[in-house]
């Protein structure tokens, strides 16, 4: 648990970046920087956060920050970690350094998953944070393996026959946890305390840790930019986004939702689900609700809560 008055007022992710108003990634990056414990290197996969925070010759980062490519943030982090280890061994480096890799859902669920799996298996000491806005927002809202069922994107449009994305979201944290790592967790920027605590914990564990955090996107999810945090809270309160962690295989529910709101409360605020409210596609909302219920049941069972 972190207390608000304990948080540093220093901003290592500074204002003036070019992320959209209401973008979750900016809030997440800023909160992440508040949880640092020592000098840190940030690796950023290609994506919104990368392009909007470092347009040359400007940078929003007051930590060392590296971008190499889209699919390899975890591999780059592996190399950095290995380098510090080796340089410490030959006494060319004497300080402890934390390493954080950021990737969006495209860079994480899809093109980057091989590099992530490799880095987790090898046990590099770093924290991987996936800010998940549930589509390739940077390239113009294309569907990813993280896009939920029914969402309209530019490559899974709300057609007259196929109403948005037919497939369901991948269980990324389940995949990470299957590597037997120390800590893998989900989070929401609406629950700042939970998130910052998890970032700190992820940095403190010896070995890899992963955080999968919901990231509202006014442009791609098509919601009012003023309600981003409210939407992030609703994602949790509708049980759409269970907040839990897996420590060495042990699941633990961090935010209990005893009286969930129907998922429609979450869906109706977002233009990407607008088509589901047409009479011919209304059953799709039931399908999403069913997925939410089943996923919640599965997670809470794993957490020993059911």
């Amino acid at each position: 648990m972190v207390r608000l008055n304990e948080l540093t007022t220093e901003e290592l992710f500074t204002p003036g970046h070019r992320l959209c108003a209401g973008c979750g990634a900016g809030v997440i990056a800023r909160m992440t920087m508040k949880a640092l414990r020592r000098p840190t290197v940030v690796v950023n996969a290609t994506g919104c956060l990368e392009v909007a925070s470092t347009i040359y010759p400007y940078t929003a980062w007051k930590v060392s920050w590296v971008h190499i490519a889209f699919e390899n943030a975890a591999a780059v982090a592996s190399g950095i970690e290995a380098a510090y280890k080796a340089m410490r061994r030959r006494k060319a480096w004497d300080r402890e350094v934390d390493i954080i890799a950021f990737g969006g859902d495209g860079g994480t669920f899809d093109i980057g998953i091989q590099a992530i799996s490799g880095a987790l298996e090898r046990g590099h000491d770093f924290l991987y944070i996936c800010y998940d806005n549930e589509a390739y927002m940077n390239t113009g809202i294309q569907r990813s393996g993280a896009t939920p069922h029914g969402a309209a994107t530019t490559t899974s449009p709300a057609g007259t026959k196929i109403p948005g994305k037919p497939e369901f979201k991948k269980d990324f944290i389940g995949i990470c946890a299957a590597h037997g790592i120390e800590n893998a967790a989900t989070a929401s920027p609406a629950y700042w305390n939970d998130y910052i605590t998890k970032v700190r914990k992820g940095l403190e564990v010896d070995g890899p840790a992963v955080i999968h955090v919901f990231s509202p996107c006014p442009l791609g999810m098509r919601h009012d930019s003023a309600i981003s945090i409210e939407l992030a809270r609703l994602a949790v309160q509708t049980r759409y986004w269970p907040v839990y962690e897996v420590e060495r295989g042990e699941y633990k529910l961090n935010i209990k939702v005893p009286r969930p709101k129907p998922v429609v409360e979450f869906l109706k605020l977002q233009g990407r689900f607008r088509h589901l409210f047409q009479p011919q596609f209304k059953h799709e909302i039931d399908i999403i609700q069913r997925w939410v219920d089943e996923n919640w049941k599965r997670i809470t069972k794993l957490c020993g809560e059911a």
């Binding site: 000098p39 840190t40 290197v41 690796v43 990368e50 392009v51 470092t54 347009i55 040359y56 010759p57 400007y58 940078t59 980062w61 007051k62 930590v63 060392s64 920050w65 590296v66 971008h67 190499i68 490519a69 699919e71 390899n72 975890a74 591999a75 780059v76 982090a77 592996s78 190399g79 950095i80 290995a82 380098a83 510090y84 280890k85 080796a86 340089m87 061994r89 030959r90 060319a92 480096w93 300080r95 350094v97 091989q114 590099a115 799996s117 490799g118 880095a119 298996e121 090898r122």
Partner: protein
């Protein structure tokens, strides 16, 4: 004090990397490169090196980890071949433009399809324009020698470019040779430790790899070109120091029996050894032929090549790779461009040979020499592009 060790080409590379006290090796197995990382991992597991060996899950991650490690200030090595180099392709450009002095052994193997594990140069030629310094060697001794020199060249603050040392798959990688090696202490004083100019030291934060649009990208690339153009000075200095240390004098190119040659072959890698043996034999029969072997392919040694062909009447350019649909293979395209640029009228013809590991025999080479002599005499190139050894 030097010693002679029995080493394969791959073993010579692994031994050199060990002596260079590399901080990070990130590599993935691929035939015929694998012996390098196998032998190196024995050094790691026997506690003979301080190196962190990252057994990555792909070549793409190998090069990515190398870039991360290099930006951190570490001395970095990797090795690959063929499909592995192709998979790295995206990151090769990033490594060079971010000015990461990585050294990579490329054990040349053809590219699929059909899948084939044997030698040709289509892997490196496919990534020819990646902005790395590229060296080709003829034997295991040269592989050892160039790896030592590669770290010096790459990490020089005047250069800061990655270097590939190319050795022919199986022909060199798996052949045992007597290799003269230096003492560890001699290597230590020749190569020294890396002294990075700028790193991602979190106590002095910097941003590396930002997005860079129409207003700055072009300048970044222009600087990269300039770094490559300036690198010959350092390569020359390092070659000179190495010669003082070992007596083995490297240069951008090797010329063999070129003094009074009427016709010559130019080729990369191990084929130069065969060509030299054939040239010697033909000289015995009074045929004035010679061989030019570029060690350094990028930066392209235009000046040295031009000088070496000043007095010949014909040049056969051997390419162990083809550029489908182009007038010539890659080496010949470069030669033709250099000759045209300097307004040198020399009759050249291009021989594509040895694709997928097809042997090139002394008889093949002799026939090429004879054709070159005929072209020198008649001034007529009958076949500007020919395939030798193909059915």
């Amino acid at each position: 004090m030097s010693r002679i060790l029995g080493l394969t080409g791959n073993g010579a590379v692994a031994y050199a990397v060990k002596q260079c006290e590399v901080d990070v090796v990130a590599a993935y197995p691929i035939t015929p490169q694998t012996l390098i990382v196998e032998e190196f991992s024995e050094f790691v597991h026997n506690g003979e090196v301080h190196t962190e060996f990252v057994c990555v899950e792909s070549e793409h991650s190998a090069m990515s980890a190398c870039v991360g490690a290099s930006l951190t200030g570490a001395r970095v090595f990797t090795a690959t071949a063929s499909q592995g180099l192709a998979l790295m392709h995206e990151i090769l450009y990033i490594a060079s433009t971010l000015r990461c002095p990585i050294v990579m052994g490329v054990v040349n193997r053809t590219l699929s399809a059909p899948i084939n594990i044997h030698c040709d140069h289509s892997d490196m030629m496919g990534s020819r324009d990646c902005g790395w310094i590229q060296v080709y060697v003829e034997n295991a001794q040269e592989a050892y020698d160039w790896v030592l020199q590669a770290f010096r060249i790459a990490e020089s603050p005047e250069v800061l470019l990655p270097v590939t040392v190319n050795l022919d798959g199986f022909i060199l990688s798996h052949s045992l040779e007597g290799v003269e090696v230096l003492d560890d202490e001699e290597v230590r004083s020749f190569v020294s430790t890396r002294k990075p100019v700028i790193t991602i030291d979190p106590n002095k934060p910097i941003t590396v790899g930002p997005i860079c649009f129409t207003d700055f990208y072009f300048e970044t690339k222009r600087q990269h070109v300039e770094a490559m153009n300036q690198s010959p000075k350092t390569i020359n200095e390092v070659n000179g120091e190495f010669a003082e240390l070992t007596g083995r004098r490297y240069n951008f190119i090797e010329t063999y029996m070129m003094e009074d040659a009427e016709a010559a072959i130019i080729c990369l890698g191990s084929t130069a050894g065969t060509a030299k043996a054939v040239a010697k034999r033909m000289r015995g029969r009074g045929k004035k032929v010679g061989v030019i072997k570029p060690w350094v392919y990028r930066p392209f040694p235009a000046e040295q090549i031009l000088k070496s062909v000043e007095n010949i009447g014909s040049l056969a350019v051997l390419d162990r790779a083809c550029s489908v649909g182009a007038p010539y293979g890659p080496l010949c395209s470069d030669i033709a461009a250099v000759l045209y640029k300097e307004n040198v009228k020399l009759n050249i013809f291009n021989v594509i040979y040895g694709l997928g590991g097809r042997d090139i025999t002394p008889l093949d080479i002799e026939a090429i020499f004879n054709e070159a002599l005929e072209v020198a005499e008649t001034g007529v190139v009958k076949e500007p592009l020919k395939f030798v050894g193909v059915r």
